[in-house]
Symmetry: C2
Subunit: 331 residues, 2 copies
């Protein structure tokens, strides 16, 4: 690991100038500051090497709103903070957007803002920084995203294979055989992962597994207008959805179409958001323990910060059984 | 979680008799002791519910000899103990064999011996207890074995996909295209996992990926006499092996055949055992950090004991580049 002295030597300036530049002191020119930052990144300097300093962690949030208790990210952020803060870390939240990613290189951003590590929630495959994370040096934990080959990153999430297997196995035990799948857009790692997990689960449970039994789209409306009718025409008796909000929309739409839930069609969501207990009927869903996900994310980040190269940390899924599922209708 | 009182009530005996039976006191008959144990397991009682008692953990070892510093398991056990003992756990080692598994149910064995949790090293798919672990109640962490659907078990290992990708990617950068694979018997989860990972890595790196490029057998001799000649006939310029000891045997055999390593053939192992630095030539191998694996196994077991349902914990692989690999020979 490079030190401030290494940067000073390389640029032939004093250590205190380097230090001032890294801390954004006003008496260092913007050009010099940028040169120092770039050199620091190039040499592999990171805040982790500076002692006696409160360590700062950054929570990058995209596509969610964790300040709302009903939001998917809410309990994850709480779980993360619950471990991070007593351990002496300062946790700051940054709403990530395209602009930040266009204007900054990830490693430079982290260094400039004195962050020792990052926890990313909601990153999608099209995010610019996801490419940088393949070679980045600042420890980062990604919820539901896997970066292969960079020892400074870790993927944290739920065991999607297990979750889909629980859902399909449960439907089988209720007599269902033709099971359909509706998914959000496949431009995200988690949707891709659940999509393949669904087909693996069909196979393992001896169900028909034609690709036509699944449909995916970024837009809910497309799922409802194109894919749902297609699945119903194929006589599916149950539908699993890639996440609860999609499942809820599908449930409401099916009720509008005059279908009885679960007598005519069983529906299963994924995530177990707080709303699932309050839908009509209450929704059966694949549960992930979001508080524990947040705590595990901190454990993973702390591991990366202390040199334990965790690559993947998955939590067990479970099935929350409610009333949106029932015995398969007689043929 | 059931208590001693629950067991006593069910059997209509006193709490102290239950307690004596669980602790193997001599004044309790063998028949009663067995009845108490079976009832305890049936009701879901576990040692984890007893307070103010030094917690005991069991290391089950099979197919390895961790007391030898050169053995694969050595550093894993040390890593595990390094965290477990300061945390107040007593760690005992039991050599697992068929007899123990035939004579005892896993949960009963754990209860009877007052173990709060287990760490399994070297379990293979044919082990009797592996089936019991699908529904067991006593927390267990398995090195290189995955049990789906039981929240009381966790799989710990190295990221085999990443490892194979690093190895194949490195060989590609050296100009190799036809790459072969030799594996130990596919009756173990880790060998199955590396086998599929190898073919995924070939595909991702744009290499030919016919199934005939791989061979596996429980016996080294079969790999050498049947599969190796078959691979060489197919003009592979490099061979990856499922583990270092197999790779070393292959290296020695190739030298006997008059092949020059790495001029005629590059060879890569898996694990980075201490011997790899001392083979002729020193062996390039996919490295797993065994001390950190042991530490991570303790973290996972501790998580299960405290209600954090970790399913999978993988460490990053890295590549130890030595002299058994070199540029592909001119065609």
């Amino acid at each position: 690991m490079a030190t401030i002295q290494d940067i000073a030597t390389r640029l032939n300036i004093s250590k205190s100038t380097v230090s001032k530049a890294l801390n954004g002191a006003p008496d260092v020119s913007e050009t010099l500051r940028k040169t120092v930052l770039e050199t620091a990144v190039e040499l592999g300097y990171s805040r982790g090497t500076r002692r006696n300093e409160a360590k700062r962690l950054c929570l990058f949030i995209e596509h969610m709103n964790p300040s709302e208790p009903t939001d998917f990210g809410h309990d994850i952020v709480i779980g993360f903070r619950k471990l991070a803060e007593p351990a002496g870390f300062k946790v700051e939240t940054v709403r990530l957007n395209k602009q930040i990613q266009q204007d900054n290189r990830y490693d430079e951003y982290m260094l400039q803002n004195n962050y020792a590590g990052a926890f990313f929630l909601g990153l999608s495959l099209s995010d610019l920084w996801l490419r940088e994370l393949q070679t980045s040096r600042t420890p980062a934990v990604l919820l539901d995203n896997y970066v292969k080959g960079n020892p400074n990153t870790c993927y944290v999430g739920v065991d999607n294979n297990e979750g889909m297997d629980l859902a399909v196995g449960y439907l089988r035990s209720l007599g269902h055989r033709r099971i359909g799948y509706l998914s959000g857009g496949l431009g995200s790692f988690v949707n891709q992962s659940r999509y393949s997990a669904f087909f693996r689960a069909l196979k393992r449970n001896g169900c028909p597994d034609e690709r036509s039994l699944a449909g995916s789209d970024y837009l809910f409306s497309e799922c409802l207008q194109t894919h749902l009718p297609r699945l119903l025409k194929q006589k599916v008796t149950a539908i699993i959805c890639s996440h609860d909000l999609l499942a809820h929309t599908v449930m409401m739409h099916c009720l509008e179409l005059g279908l009885r839930l679960p007598e005519d069609l069983s529906i299963i969501g994924f995530d177990d958001l707080p709303l699932c207990a309050y839908t009509i009927p209450p929704m059966t869903t694949i549960r992930q323990d979001r508080t524990q996900l947040g705590k595990s994310a901190f454990h993973a980040l702390y591991s990366l910060l202390t040199g334990v190269p965790i690559s993947t940390l998955l939590l067990h899924a479970s099935l929350a059984r409610r009333q949106s599922t029932g015995p398969a209708p007689a043929p």
